[in-house]
Symmetry: C2
């Protein structure tokens, strides 16, 4: 439902500085738009009369022409209200309400060419979205954006949860600091060094007067990702678009628009996590038939490589060339993970435990020197190693009712992947694969392009589309961080695009607070394939020599809780079968927990500290609850008043054992069961770096 | 046959400056290799004791390491001689002798890493080829070439036939000047402005003491094209590698080698044209079955667009987007060339005149604003315009025994082409196409890459390979200039890669000397799809308004001669059927002339002045002769002593009529027949900008 509220005549509004005001549906948020004396568009935002954004400039700079930065006049203003409800193909909730008021401001350059840009603001009760739009017009067809003067000027020195503005990686631990203290100079770059005061979005902020503000973008399509340059004196944030190989930001053709820049605002942290603003600003899916899209849990030949029990590569040869190598003749190294027998073991384990799929990494030739060489011809995506029998495994998996998940690591050589993608998808379909994990480790080819630039953004989206046409689900790693496009492409189940659990295997690891921050940052844009479920926390036992000192920085119970707190329709049971076989009682939670939900309640949340979330399984009267903490032990008091009144549930509580802690005693857990109902209050004892997971299944008929 | 002549011990040669000498098989050419006191490799070349190259440095610079430019030592020298004969799949001659002496010098960097490069010199009686090779070695695997210090230091201020060093286009008219006068500052760039003293190869040189020298390269694979920076004071030429988007030149992995740098030398101009040095330096084809590769003549829906009789685009709409446009709903402009009826007309014409194929440009959607926008999604290569009935034309062409030639214009958006190429080739094969003309007009995407850089070089070669796998012949336009790779990929019939006949339609045109220079420059590397055969020389008659003052800068008779002088296994009869129907007697030569040859004789040649070539048709006792001149009228006396003794031939001589000239009376020709034999001497009167074509068919049994 959209109804036009008012359209003001152009003449009235041509006066610079004449302000436009817009309130959110319940008047919680107020937006003011105006022009500065220099003809610069500006906006400001407040929440319950508390300033969220001070006057902040807007504008887009262009190559070889004036752009839309100053000297602009308002030639038209339109306003509408929209309120409807839609159902995602899968998600955290069954129904999503999309209720906003909209202001559409048409701005014109001086001069005879009458070039126009429109600013479309959508003001929800939980935040603001706005974007630039270039309507079809005679004197602006093809154009190149060099940058934006979009600002988010904050009124004070907020606390910020940030990662460096690396154009090619988001796999950082978060730093928590005041805006004035943002400085990544001492942080080792994952891919490319960031300017010290440049940070990535989603940027989570907390004000001293109790507001929570999240700045990100929605529907990143045909445009580079936006990073933010922090002014430590003024607390202003300025948009920094990731450049293309030429240095320009975006090559566009009108009609076109930018992504939505989003500012989610609330006076409590749980409301930030409950916001559906970013999804609402994305386009609906065009798919009419979606039964082939299946939220799922999976295991994989994967963690065993991370913990140095096996290798992706089949041989220990190096400096190979894809086309010139006789892969059959290579001398096997004897510890290649993706061999037929080992994959069968995972298939068996998945079948026994009702997990839908098995990911296999390292199945295809090219892993001997796949990384770090900026080489174009790394993988061909269709040639298995000699010890990986595609046909036999296809048959075996099918006989067990298990699907294999394909793996397309590109090594960042995306031209190579694109020219082979049709052949790779033909291969998948010929061999019964319906899901693929893609990877983009390393520097991008086309050389000079960045993971987060326009060209790669188009690649990710095009890949999601290509996959959808073939009814293939996709999980992307090392991609740009999500912006809600899983609404548009529901086959795009998840992405990594942040620092996942894997970093615990081969770096200083993720600090215990990490998983309490991710939902406020990376997950604002969409589901993450974090790969939870590591039971064997101390990794030395897998390989004492190579894993010395390595461990996961949580307790085992917290790993279970992540299946609830870290939302994704695609959840890995990431550890090895033998790790799970040692703890069948704890593994029961992973077997039980849902991956698609009818409802979600953010019960307790504070970024960097703790998180308690309860979710109702899709189409079922079952709930799952996860509670996690940072490095501090906590007792969390959780009211189960989200349960339907009068219904008894058997709660199975997977908790840290007494004396457990992430560093000293991480695998100590206890499982207890109790009957509960909506009046029950649970007291969950969370160890340092710990957590608790609870399944709630109805007892008897309702 | 290769036999090792000598291998000298490393110890003996570690002395810097110790010179190595090599003579060509007949001792015409002498090469000297040495090290400068600074440990720089140097070489010099002489022909019959006349200096061809003064001492010139060699070397390759690398990113992040010392490279191979100085401080080098010789650790080994090997020498061999090779002499054999091979048969091309198609060509100017039936057999090619490959006879050279070789010197392989192994050079080592100082330091403990013992990195090595090898210089391989092959000295033929008609010139020198040399290249850099990096053998497999422990401390040099992946590396980045930033440039070369390769020099070609000429001993005097030679006359040069040059075009500017545009990294993205070779479609220039040639300038003839002394080396000291090379300066392209006033030449309008076709694509990208060249440094004023930078020129392209093949560079044709003529010395004051009667030598002809041609500098180019052979087997350009996985490396950027080489341009030459001219020092107008010293007459030194320095290699300039076309940069990638990052500024570096080449991303390599050992074992690897550069293309061969070639210096063809002779004391007469015909010997330059007869040289097979570049082909000899290319790798043999790996194809075992080549019957599907057919040298051929073709017509096309093509020139009618150039002369503004019809359009590539179907509608006059603009600013369209490929994915968003309803092509069926577009309003046709009424003069779209590639419509079903018009194509049938060409098919009929081809069938009636025994021409094998019909090229159709503008058949597929996207031409409305295809050019000049640096847009990525321009064409999809599979969607016909509404008025082009693929199935009907497939059937119609097949019923007439004619093949349609596919057209893949990329608009320079090569990422787009590559990701769609498999689908495009599937489409071709589903619809009976076995040949394709590709095009690369405009700036390249990946943005920042150049037509002549490593990435695009790899694209062209990969495309030739992809096509070969599917048994598709290919003709590339706007590609890098050829380097003899048609030996390796005999399905790569021809390329444009120079200023073709089409420039006469919409520019100041090609000067009358143009076709006398091309064989000494562009054609040194391989066949050109020049599109000869324009009969209607003055183009105003096609469209008085839009073609005002435009004309082809030759006589009609010269257009016929080009079928012989401008070697290609793929020759277009480029004019419209109605133009040919007005001159059936002259058209007979185009119908008759062969496109594949058992023998070729360069009878007379001087770059920029004239050219007379006779060729024997493949497998036939028929000869065809072409003679052309520049803007000057000439009488050429041609001895037919290449004919087998005792055999009478009917010579049909297509000559300029009296009073003909390219500018004032270009379409005046006369045809006469006479019986000739090997003792006959023909006197051919060539008008200004004119030529003569002669067919020689045996009379009676031999």
């Amino acid at each position: 439902m959209t109804r036009s509220l008012l359209t003001l005549a152009a003449a009235l509004l041509a006066l610079p500085g004449l302000a436009q005001r817009l309130h959110s549906p319940s008047h919680k948020l107020a937006l003011q738009f105006g022009l500065s004396p220099a003809g610069e568009p500006t906006y400001q935002l407040s929440y319950d009369n508390r300033p969220v954004l001070r006057p902040s400039r807007l504008g887009v700079a262009m190559q070889g022409q004036a752009g839309f930065v100053q000297g602009l006049t308002v030639v038209r203003v339109d306003s509408t209200e929209h309120d409807d409800t839609w159902a995602p193909v899968w998600g955290e909730v069954k129904q999503i309400r999309n209720h906003y008021k909209e202001l559409l401001v048409t701005l014109q350059q001086p001069g005879t060419e009458q070039r126009q840009v429109q600013l479309r603001f959508r003001l929800f009760d939980d935040g603001l979205g706005f974007r630039y739009e270039w309507p079809r017009q005679p004197n602006l067809q093809y154009f190149t954006v060099t940058g934006e003067q979009t600002e988010f000027n904050l009124p004070a020195d907020h606390k910020a949860f940030w990662i460096p503005g690396d154009y090619d990686s988001n796999e950082y631990a978060y730093t928590t600091s005041r805006l004035s203290q943002v400085n990544s100079a001492s942080i080792t770059p994952i891919q490319e060094k960031s300017a010290p005061q440049r940070v990535q979005t989603p940027l989570m902020l907390k004000t001293d007067n109790g507001l929570y503000v999240n700045i990100h973008e929605a529907a990143l399509v045909n445009y580079p990702a936006m990073m933010l340059n922090v002014n430590p004196q003024t607390f202003g944030l300025a948009a920094q678009l990731v450049p293309s190989a030429t240095g320009a930001a975006a090559y566009l053709q009108a009609p076109e628009h930018t992504p939505w820049r989003t500012v989610v605002v609330a006076d409590n942290a749980p409301a930030i996590l409950a916001s559906k603003l970013i999804l609402n600003l994305n386009e609906p899916s065009q798919l009419t038939e979606t039964s082939w899209i299946r939220p799922q849990k999976f295991v994989g030949v994967w963690w065993e490589m991370h913990v140095n029990r096996s290798s992706w590569n089949y041989s220990d040869a190096s400096n190979l060339k894809l086309a010139d190598t006789d892969w059959q003749a290579l001398k096997p190294n004897g510890h290649h993970g993706a061999n037929t027998q080992n994959v069968k073991r995972y298939i068996d384990f998945a079948a026994q435990n009702s997990l839908q799929s098995v990911l296999v990494e390292g199945w295809n030739v090219g892993w001997e020197d796949w990384h770090g060489n900026w080489k174009e011809e790394v993988f061909d995506f269709v040639t298995p190693y000699p010890d990986f029998d595609v046909a036999e495994l296809q048959q075996y998996a099918a006989s067990k009712g298990v699907k294999l998940i394909m793996h397309h690591e590109t090594s960042g050589s995306v031209t190579n992947y694109e020219r082979r993608q049709d052949r790779a998808l033909d291969f998948m379909q010929a061999h019964g694969y319906d899901a693929v994990k893609t990877g983009y480790v390393g520097r991008i080819i086309p050389r000079g392009e960045h993971h987060d630039g326009q060209w790669m953004v188009n690649h990710y989206n095009r890949t999601a589309q290509n996959m959808a046409q073939r009814r293939i689900m996709v999980d992307m790693h090392e991609s740009v961080r999500p912006t809600g496009l899983h609404r548009t492409y529901p086959n795009w189940l998840a992405a990594e695009a942040a620092r996942g659990n894997e970093f615990n295997a081969w770096s200083e690891g993720n600090p215990p607070e990490h998983e309490t921050i991710l939902p406020f940052t990376r997950l604002m844009g969409g589901p993450m394939d974090y790969t939870p479920g590591i039971f064997r926390i101390k990794l030395e036992s897998w390989n004492p020599e190579r894993n010395k000192g390595r461990q996961v920085h949580t307790t085992l119970a917290k790993q279970l809780a992540l299946y609830v707190t870290m939302y994704s329709p695609l959840q890995m049971a990431a550890d090895l079968p033998e790790a799970y076989e040692q703890h069948p009682d704890a593994f029961q939670f992973i077997k039980d927990v849902a991956v698609d939900w009818d409802d979600t309640r953010i019960l307790q949340a504070e970024p960097g500290e703790y998180l308690t979330i309860a979710r109702q399984a899709k189409g079922k009267n079952e709930w799952y609850l996860g509670a996690i903490t940072d490095e501090n032990a906590r007792q969390q008091t959780v009211k189960l008043d989200f349960l339907p009144a009068g219904q008894k549930y058997l709660a199975t509580i997977y908790a840290d054992a007494k004396g457990a802690s992430w560093d000293k005693n991480p695998e100590a857990y206890q499982i207890r069961k109790q009957t509960v109902d909506s009046k029950t209050t649970l007291k969950l004892q969370l160890a340092p770096g710990g957590g608790a997971a609870v399944s709630l299944k109805p007892v008897g008929a309702r």
